[in-house]
Symmetry: C2
Subunit: 184 residues, 2 copies
């Protein structure tokens, strides 16, 4: 990770249950090691239960802020980890959906992996963008007006904001590198 | 269950892991008790691992047939149970998607609950239909051309086939009653 992210404030948004653990911890650790300040945000402040392979209980993390108390203006960039039930539940939280939308509207970079792009579909920011995701989302992405591609990391600058997307945990090396480049 | 389903052959399609247990067992038991012959079909014949609340391991069931070996012509109706990871994985199976589509194209009734309607989105049969689902799918349903409604059981006869849909396990009484009426 040669990219220097000193001074960058990066928000991570997850549900209080269901995040795919390495999709949280790898970007969190690597972007932090590059100098960024990272903040974990969820529908409720407090416990975040991670899983591996969607249904195997993982570790517990702590959300510093409830999304309804978080101001997108306080952050330079956003990371949206995956996990099937994580993204499926998070898209039902209106504050979380508005939080994601605010980054795109402000022209700030967003990086989403695996099932995280459902949050982009829910926020209505996919139209005219080129992106990847876990393969099961491709029809939802296309129906939302996006161009779905099958790549380990896709960086798209259309519509005035940069979107970095990847397919699954096997893409994490490329995902973190592309996210760091977009956030620098 | 006053409806008589004697002689009706009903296929149930699920993934080999992830089905929300009561969304399989309630329709299976009740439609069987009404006289229907029920067949469990999955991407692979054999073990089907059910869950409760998406991530709590439930019981194990047995798929009699692999979907690639199943002929839609052998059945009068189709049930698509939910479960977030169930539907998320099943929509990646091309044979399962084609199996679902065949029922709509043949004008046969289909009943889908919770996250099951993702299979309808993936099969391209939602356009012009009115349906409900787990609330998180509503944007995907609308983007696929469907009219999403918030009802415990929705029966729609548009486009030459009957679709019964419900939102979650709390709707199972209404779901099974509406499915039985549609299948009779």
């Amino acid at each position: 990770m040669p990219t220097d992210l000193t001074g960058k404030k990066i928000a991570f948004i997850v549900n209080n249950s269901g995040v795919e653990q390495p999709e949280l911890t790898r970007p969190w650790d690597d972007l932090g090691a590059a100098g960024a300040t990272t903040t974990l945000i969820a529908p409720e402040a407090g416990e975040v239960k991670a899983f591996n392979n969607d249904v195997e209980p993982g570790d517990t993390f702590t959300a510093e802020l409830a999304v309804s108390d978080a101001d997108p203006a306080d952050y330079d960039a956003l990371v949206i980890p995956g996990g099937t039930t994580n993204a499926d539940s998070l898209r039902l939280d209106a504050s979380a959906v508005a939080f994601v939308k605010a980054f795109a509207e402000a022209g700030k970079p967003v990086a989403a992996i695996c099932h995280g792009p459902w949050m982009l579909v829910e926020s209505g920011v996919v139209e005219g963008k080129t992106l990847t995701s876990y393969a099961s989302l491709q029809t939802d992405v296309r129906n939302a007006g996006g161009s779905w591609v099958d790549e380990e990391a896709c960086t798209d600058d259309a519509k005035g904001w940069t979107l970095v997307t990847s397919r699954d945990p096997d893409d994490l090396d490329a995902f973190v590198e592309a996210a760091a480049a977009a956030f620098a």
